[in-house]
């Protein structure tokens, strides 16, 4: 359905509109993972259970994975519609900052050896990072024009493109990506828990 379903034929965008099913939904799943990361960071600071920290770490890992995938799909799409894979766009800058933030998060984790201390420091950093990222992705792009659909005078998808045929794919795709990422994250968490159990025995 994602590849073959009927879509409206629009100038410039043409068939690349199908990227909506992948790129946009991936970002939503990534955002979910970041929210999970921050929620479990706060939970760790309140309860000091190392399992919470484990979940926070793995959700950050999946967020990076989804972010990279989202970047690649976005760049392919931009190459067709905007003519270049990377342009100076507030949302792209925000994405670059976000990826750097989460890379720094993992660097911080690697720098600390003691697991309790690592959990505490990285939870604090992730809360801080989330607030900054929120400002960058949600607040700053509103102040300048963006090339993204729906911003800076560009028509949004929901205006006329997202007809009912596309909605039929788009909403399940959002749910699907979110569930897929949660599943991936829980797999990693369970793997890590088992590894820890084997190491202690």
């Amino acid at each position: 359905m994602g590849f073959l379903g009927p879509v409206p034929a629009l100038p410039i965008i043409n068939e690349t509109i199908r990227n909506l099913y992948f790129h946009v939904t991936m970002w939503m799943a990534m955002f979910l993972m970041m929210i999970l990361n921050v929620i479990f960071g706060i939970r760790y600071l309140n309860g000091s259970k190392l399992k919470d920290d484990l979940i926070a770490e793995e959700s950050a890992r999946i967020a990076i994975l989804l972010g990279t995938a989202g970047l690649i799909t976005g760049m392919v799409w931009a190459n067709f519609t905007w003519g270049a894979p990377w342009v100076n766009d507030p949302q792209l800058n925000g994405t670059a900052a976000t990826m750097l933030l989460y890379a720094a998060y993992f660097l911080l984790r690697n720098a600390v050896i003691d697991p309790v201390k690592r959990a505490r420091l990285s939870s604090i950093y992730s809360i801080f990072a989330f607030v900054m990222m929120y400002v960058f992705i949600m607040v700053l792009p509103k102040m300048t024009d963006s090339l993204h659909p729906g911003k800076g005078g560009n028509p949004g998808f929901n205006k006329y493109d997202l007809d009912s045929n596309m909605r039929m794919v788009f909403y399940p795709a959002v749910i699907g990506w979110c569930l897929l990422s949660i599943w991936l994250m829980s797999l990693r968490v369970r793997l890590r828990l088992i590894e820890k159990q084997i190491a202690t025995n």
């Binding site: 600071l45 800058n93 900052a97 750097l100 933030l101 890379a103 720094a104 660097l107 911080l108 720098a111 600390v112 201390k117 505490r120 420091l121 939870s123 604090i124 950093y125 809360i127 801080f128 990072a129 607030v131 900054m132 400002v135 960058f136 607040v139 700053l140 102040m143």
Partner: protein, 221 residues
Amino acid sequence: MQLLIRQVKQLIEHEIRIELKNKQALGSLVVYSVSSIYISYLAFRQNIDPVTWNALFWIIMLFAATNAVAKSFLQESKGIQLYYYTLLNSRAVILSKIIYNILLLTTLGLLNFFCYWILFNTTIADPIQYLIGIFLGSMGLSAILTLVSGLVSRANNSASLVAILGFPLLFPLLISILKFSKNAMDGLGWYVNQPYFIVLISLNLAVILLSYLLFPYLWRE
């Protein structure tokens, strides 16, 4: 609350006294930023356009700030930190450090601005707005980097980690401050700059609030 304010005041006085007594740290900061300004002068010579002027100024400020603020926790020995921990409210410690760093960076920023302006002469249409920009930028830089320096002092105490963890956090601040000060340079009216002003103020307050809330978790060992 009153106790907190008194502790903050005493800690700031203490910091200033230490800084004035040990002139080497302050002097090295000034030499660091002035020589980086001079290096950029040698690299660019006099003629640079306003956009580059502004960007270069904030990049110099960024590196000077990282150097200045990084030491705020790193220079203290474990013994002194333990002493503070038993004696003081942890929130007083972070607030005093942030306020002290704001003072330090604003002075450093004004000094930098003066030297920079002598070497690279540019017309700034609205100097008062630019100075407000310097204050807001120093405030944000010190607030963010102080907490990061506290984090790093607990992690492995290496100054390079401050830059690695701090720079991505500084992106939103730097982008808005660059816009704000560029508008001030062009002499655009206050109504153009108002949204950036609001964003900067709320960003700074949010960061200080976050440090205030999160620091106790960092402090207890």
